[in-house]
């Protein structure tokens, strides 16, 4: 029994880790429906890097949109500006938050009708995360 308990604890820890130890995890994912007459939508989410190395997102793509860009809105001295972000570095054991009024995904030129959006996050040529999300109002 004395030997079994530590093994059980390790096994349980192993289970807990496997749930949370995907290298890159997305949460609070929201993609708004394109506004009437508009050919674009905004996407928001939190990216969590569970590894001990930085993960660099080079670009994002979606089969439902012709183009996806990572942008950041800033208000400086009363002026609203929007910048295209280059590579997005998610530091080790850290999160990057995309939220209204800040970093966001700009999804441009929707392709056809759809209720669910797939987002593929790339590090170079490799897809490091795929997220499916239902469009919200």
């Amino acid at each position: 029994m004395k030997r079994i308990v530590p093994v059980l604890i390790l096994a349980l820890l192993g289970c807990a880790c496997s749930l949370e130890s995907a290298p890159l995890v997305a949460s609070d994912v929201v993609v708004s429906k394109p506004r009437p007459g508009m050919n674009m939508a905004a996407g928001y989410l939190t990216l969590r890097n569970n590894t001990s190395q930085p993960i660099i997102i080079t670009h994002v793509a979606s089969p439902q949109f012709e183009s996806v860009e990572m942008h950041e809105s800033v208000i400086e001295d009363g002026m609203a500006r929007m910048y295209a972000l280059g590579d997005m570095r998610v530091l080790a054991k850290s999160s990057v938050v995309f939220q209204p009024g800040g970093k966001h995904l700009m999804l441009m030129r929707p392709v056809g009708e759809f209720d669910t959006v797939t987002l593929d996050f790339f590090a170079g040529r490799a897809v490091v995360l795929t997220v499916n999300v239902t469009l919200s109002d």
């Binding site: 708004s32 506004r35 009437p36 007459g37 508009m38 674009m40 939508a41 905004a42 183009s67 860009e69 942008h71 809105s73 208000i75 009363g78 002026m79 609203a80 500006r81 929007m82 295209a84 209204p100 009024g101 966001h104 700009m106 999804l107 441009m108």
Partner: protein, 203 residues
Amino acid sequence: MGPRKFFIATVAITAIAFGAWLSFKMASPAPVPQVATILPVAGELPEFSLLDHNGDPIGRDVFKGHWNLVFFGFTHCPDICPLTLQVLADAKKQLAAAGFERLPRIVLVSVDPERDTPEVLAQYVGYFGDDNLGITGDLEEISKFTKGLGIWFQKSGDGENYSVDHAAAVLVINPDGQFEALFGAPHEADNLVHDLPIIMGRQ
């Protein structure tokens, strides 16, 4: 109680009530806005010749007869512009729910007339409420209007995905068509709900 005593008691109670009312009035000064800046003197608007979202020609008189919340933005702005218009719409809903009767009209003045035709604006402003107003037209005429109000904007980037940097303030234009107050960004519905009745109560 004889009539004399009754008279004295009535006078005493009235005096106490008046004193209490007076001290209450003196202790509670007129409410002040928590975010908005009210102009010392409401400003006349610059003249302009533009189009509303129905394509009808309009000038500065279009603001008369309504309280107006005026935001300068563009429909190809995915984040700040819909966020701001939603905040304005939410504030308006909260004011309506609180029984406020003179609800302000939400106005979007496009700083991107190249893409924002009246048809595009009509769909866009309609999404945020029924009686909203969209304004677009000739770029030079838009600039005449914005420069006269100290509102700055500039095209940023090239190609079809260009953006427009623009002032993020919300202007309050009164029913006489005068620039009365402004809210600086970032905008929150609670601030508008608190400050608008104060601004609008001054007229």
